[in-house]
Structures are given as structure tokens and as C-alpha cells.
Subunit: 241 residues, 2 copies
DNA sequence: TACAATTTGTGCGTATGTATA
DNA sequence: ATATACATACGCACAAATTGT
């Protein structure tokens, strides 16, 4: 007979880790800023520096903070070059990595589709901001992208800013204080339709790579649902295991 | 002007980590067996237990060893359920994970193709063992797989064992002492050809997901090159970022 | 340039808790 | 109950990196 899983005991450094994570999530230290030093935090919580170190190391391991020897510990921004490539897995056939340039096609506020509501864990009636754009790599249209975010959580995104920046996650973080920390992707092979033909210049029926991504914050709340259709003649999806 | 990258200084626990990794690679402790205790290893290397702990924790983080409280530290087998799903990213549309059943179509020793030689870092003349098989999920053919390994490194694989086990990495480890530790995959969308039609039952020209994987050992030596063509009507490729 | 102050990284030692055999 | 092994927690000393004086 299995017992209900009640954490009878939680190591001290784990408790500290959760406490610090909560303060980060609450916005006490915005992304990019430095948090207090190990010694001062250890004093705050009345634990040894060693224990507090373990908590910070664990947070660093989870990409919540970044440690700089001699400087201090900063809250991760999730919009640095390194962090962006965490979510961008398309590379050239020669192995080159470069970020795409985006051009917005449509941008509107409307009711969520069933698929969007399910992915974002919203009610059927709720509204989303939907954006459709094409993204170019090496001056060639490479992706046709549809994305949706909660219209209440990202209020006004259908209007401002204009134009939209290339890297939306940066915008989410700075303008709406929603940092994308994790994501899960499902990949499919699909046949190109009329829109793909129009915007990507591929023949109708030709194979495309479809990437459906749900982007989540530190506490695994879904922030964005994104469907990218990608041509794989000049690029491919790269994954290191 | 940049200096040549000479590691002027290596932390002690990193040196210990490398030393232990070498002993694991050399087969001193085969996969699944337990290595000496922290205290005895600390004595061997004349370092503190704390330092040796950091080395072992780092190895555990790299999936080289597994730590069991109260029992000891074991060399990872890379063939446990958890470890197999590290490399198997296909899931059902409902999110279910199950391992496929394999049926071998061809199995032969022959000269490497240019693509295989390049992926396995072999000379053009060298021979490989090539295996083609189909893999079924839910009693439905889902993957058509071509794979190649060095015929010298995996001597006799074209003959024995018969039949081949479902999980080849298990065989590589136990019969040939080559453990697959990492891998890199490149994904493409391709059109089904006559073989795909014959073995997967999909229409010619319909979109398939092609996964090209290079499997490597602990020291990043390429062990296997594998190309899987997968139908994504009933399954998809799942990736957590 | 030199030096000091601050902060994280490394290394050591010890004591105690928890899991396993 | 005992012994062993890993996990947690504390404390200290020094190294390395950064910043400002």
C-alpha cells in the first residue's frame, strides 16, 4: 500500500531555494539585477553560507540566476544570446546558428481557438492576442509563424509596440514582466498549404516541419502557444541529447 | 589579441572528475557495478571527501554515475527505462510514451557511404555494419530506420546475435563495451519515397519526419549513425527545453 | 600602477541525519 | 542493533575576479 506523497522532510537548502525563487517570481529583484551577496542572504535566513550556496547553485542550475565570480549573483534575463538559443533550434545545414528577421502579417485580438485555449489553459471564451509573421534566415523566408498569448495577461499587445521587436520573449519580460523560462515542443511533418506557398514560396504539398511550442514561466504557467512551419531545404532542427 | 586557450589552471575536483571518468571509460568498473566509497577514493587521491564529492556529483550530473544513499555510487548503465527515453523522443498524440518493436529488413557488412563515413568520422574505405529495420508502435509500422556502425569497432555484428534485440544500445554496451552517452539529432521534413510507401504504408510524396542521429560515447567518439523516417499522423517528436 | 574591499570559487575538516544491508 | 555509505549542515581559510580608490 502506497502512502500519500507528503514531503515529510525538506532539506534546508531546498527550502531556501524555494523561498528565493518566490522572491524572484514576485519581482523583488527584476531580471538582470543583482541579488544580495551570499553572506548577507545567509544572515537573513540564519543559515550557513555553505547551505545558502547550495540553494543558489541549484537556482543557477535551473537557469534562474547567473553567478559571476567577483561580481555577484544576478537574476537571469532569458534574453541573452545564450538564452535565446535555448529556444531557437534551427541551424543552417553547415551548422551555423543565426537569429531570423521577422515581418508581421496580421496582429489582432480575438477569441481563442480550441487548440489555443487548450495549450494556454484558458477558458473557451477568453480572448488572445494572435500574431502571424514570417521570419527570414539568410534573406530567405524560412518560417511561417502563428502565435497566441492571453489578451488579459498581455493587455494591449495587439496595438503596441509598433513595430514588434524580433525577439518577443524579450518584450514579454520587460514590458509584461513574464519571463519565458521553459518550453515544450512537439514536431510534425506536414504538407504545405496555400499560405505556405504564398509566404514561403514552397510548392503546395511539399513537406514542412511544423513546430508546436508551449512556452512557460518559472512556475510552469503557459504563456505563449506558437506554431512554426519551417522549410528544411536550407535549415534543420538541431537537438543535443 | 586573443591568447591561445591553454588551461593554465584546472580546479582539483575537475582533475579528479577527469581521472575518475578515465577509469570508468577504461572499464575498471563496468556499467552497473559500484565504485569505491567516497572516503576510500578521497584517500586514494589524497583529497578531502568534500572535494571528491564535488567530482562525483559532477559525474552524476553528466549521467556517468548514479548515487544511491546508503548503498554507494554505481556506473550508469544507459539502458534503464529512464535512460532509454533520453534518446527516444517519439510520443503518442495523447502524450503516451512506449518503446517500439523492431523487425530487421537487411543486415550486412559493406563499405561506408560518404554520409556514413562523415558522420562516424571514418575513412572513406572503411567498412560499416548496416542495418535496416522497421519499428512498430501500437501494432502500426511507424519508423523506417537505417543505421551504421564501424565494422571494426562492432566486429561480427552483421552475423550475431540473431535475432537482434529491440534496444541496440543495450547490446552495444554489454557485447562491445561501447556505451552511448550522448547524441545529436538533426530533423528534417521529407517526402515519402517508394520504400516508405512499401514499409510504412504511407502514400508516396506524403510528409515524413526524418531524424538523423549521431550517437556518441562518453568521450564524444561517434559510435552510430542512424536515420529514422517517421510518420507523424499518430505520433510526434517531443522536446522539453 | 598599486592597493584594498567585496563577492564568488575552491578546498579542507567535522558533525549529524538518513538509507541500506 | 551495527556498520557502511551517501546527504545535509556548519565553519574556516585561501584563491580568483571585479570594482573602486
Amino acid at each position: 500500500m502506497n502512502q500519500a506523497v507528503i514531503p515529510k522532510y525538506q532539506p534546508l537548502y531546498q527550502q531556501i531555494k524555494e523561498a528565493l525563487l518566490s522572491r524572484v517570481m514576485a519581482g523583488e529583484w527584476p531580471p538582470g539585477t543583482f541579488i544580495p551577496s551570499e553572506s548577507s542572504l545567509a544572515e537573513q535566513y540564519s543559515v550557513s553560507v555553505g547551505t545558502l550556496r547550495k540553494a543558489l547553485d541549484a537556482l543557477a542550475n535551473d537557469n534562474v540566476v547567473i553567478r559571476y565570480q567577483g561580481k555577484g549573483t544576478a537574476v537571469a534575463t532569458h534574453d541573452s544570446d545564450r538564452s535565446l538559443f535555448q529556444f531557437f533550434h534551427l541551424i543552417g545545414l553547415d551548422g551555423s546558428r543565426c537569429l531570423p528577421i521577422s515581418r508581421v502579417l496580421t496582429r489582432e485580438r480575438r477569441a481563442a481557438t480550441r487548440e489555443e485555449a487548450s495549450a494556454l489553459e484558458l477558458e473557451q471564451e477568453e480572448e488572445v492576442v494572435h500574431i502571424r509573421r514570417i521570419r527570414e534566415l539568410d534573406n530567405r523566408p524560412a518560417l511561417l509563424e502563428d502565435l497566441a498569448v492571453s489578451a488579459t495577461r498581455f493587455a494591449g499587445l495587439e496595438q503596441e509596440p509598433t513595430p514588434l521587436p524580433n525577439t518577443l520573449y524579450h518584450l514579454y519580460q520587460h514590458r509584461f514582466s513574464h519571463s519565458v523560462a521553459h518550453a515544450e515542443e512537439r514536431l510534425f511533418a506536414v504538407a504545405a498549404d496555400a499560405d505556405d506557398n504564398k509566404y514561403l514560396g514552397v510548392e503546395i504539398g511539399s513537406p514542412l516541419l511544423e513546430i508546436r511550442r508551449i512556452a512557460k514561466d518559472l512556475k510552469d504557467t503557459p504563456l505563449e502557444y506558437r506554431v512554426s512551419r519551417c522549410e528544411t531545404e536550407h535549415h534543420c532542427y538541431f537537438n543535443k541529447l
